[in-house]
């Protein structure tokens, strides 16, 4: 059964001895045979630097910005929606405005929040490529980009959800959202029973990335 990597997978987990010139730890791939496409990446990066288009510092800063995005940001938004009705209303009307109201800078992200309730369960896919609310949640998992997920979720969502360990009663409608254009989607899961009186941080701790994609629900 898939489990949810809702803690940051940063490169510290693969630290080797020694650090590179910029202070980043070396990664396993530093010692792997150089591939054609890695050569291209190095070449593009160097040419961009030499032509004054993008400096190494800019690239490092952007990597840092992306590393700072994680499901924890989305979880904060969900937890606040669970406890603050006005915020919930804003989130459902304009997801990006709500993120900014929560102090999260989302740049050009155009977020649509879709809320699970007793009648409906939402789940997100991009059948055409792999569009994902990365500016809020960070980079998507491999399975989200896989052929299996992209072909099957719009065709047999309940079977796909069952593979993730989620079975929904027939009375609940499954709503699949295909991110075909400019909008990006965040599933707002239902707040579980037994969480009455919980503070924001504790509520956020049960909202995993997979809950916000829609292939899981929060558990206490």
């Amino acid at each position: 059964m898939p489990h949810d990597h809702d803690h940051d997978h940063d490169h510290d987990e693969h630290r080797h001895e020694g650090m590179s010139a910029s202070g980043h730890p070396y990664r396993a791939d530093q010692d792997a045979p150089l591939t054609h496409w890695q050569r291209m990446e190095i070449a593009v990066r160097e040419l961009l630097a030499e032509k004054g288009v993008a400096t190494p510092a800019e690239i490092a800063a952007q990597i840092g910005r992306m590393d700072a995005r994680s499901p924890a940001l989305g979880a904060r938004v969900v937890a606040r929606a669970w406890t603050d009705p006005a915020f919930r209303a804003l989130l459902l009307a304009d997801g990006s405005a709500a993120c900014r109201a929560e102090g999260i800078e989302v740049d050009a992200l155009k977020l649509v929040a879709v809320e699970n309730d007793a009648q409906a369960h939402n789940v997100i896919v991009c059948t055409l490529c792999s569009c994902y609310p990365r500016t809020l949640l960070g980079l998507p998992p491999d399975w989200y980009k896989s052929r299996a997920y992209r072909t099957r979720l719009v065709r047999e969502p309940r079977r796909v959800l069952a593979e993730f360990g989620l079975t929904l009663p027939d009375a609940v409608t499954v709503r699949v959202h295909d991110s075909t254009a400019d909008m990006r989607y965040l599933v707002v899961p239902r707040r579980p029973e037994g969480t009455e009186g919980w503070g924001a941080a504790r509520l956020a701790s049960i909202v995993t990335r997979d809950c916000m994609i829609g292939v899981a629900v929060p558990h206490i």
Binding site: A54, P56, Y149, T151, E163
Partner: protein, 119 residues
């Protein structure tokens, strides 16, 4: 994708296409070179050199084999390079020359990167 039965469906246009098999739940941590590709895309699109639509279009133009034969960020760097050539940022000749020179630096990613510092 089956072009005989569905001419006009792009290989990337996968919704509802026939597929047998479970979703593999495994994920990999993003390697540094992949994060760099991602960063290059974000920076170049922010600087107006190309759009995310152009990125997608060039990936689609890689053709159906690309999904199985290339990884996600391999497709991305191929597309970024193509888009930058189209934008006139560098030429095919320049890219070729640089890729050749990099190959001569060493056999590993680390060895080939070290010469110019780490970004």
């Amino acid at each position: 994708m089956d072009q005989e039965r569905e001419p006009g469906r792009g290989w990337h246009d996968m919704g509802g296409a026939a597929f047998a098999g479970a979703v593999d739940p495994a994920s990999h941590d993003y390697a540094l070179w992949e994060k760099r590709v991602d960063a290059l895309m974000v920076l170049c699109t922010a600087k107006g050199l190309f759009t995310v639509d152009g990125l997608r279009r060039a990936i689609e133009d890689l053709g159906p084999g690309a999904f199985e034969s290339m990884s996600y960020y391999e497709r991305w760097i191929a597309s970024v390079a193509r888009n930058l050539i189209e934008a006139g940022v560098f030429t095919v000749e320049e890219l070729n020359a640089r890729m050749e020179a990099i190959g001569a630096r060493g056999a590993t990613y680390g060895a080939a990167s070290l010469a110019r510092g780490d970004g």
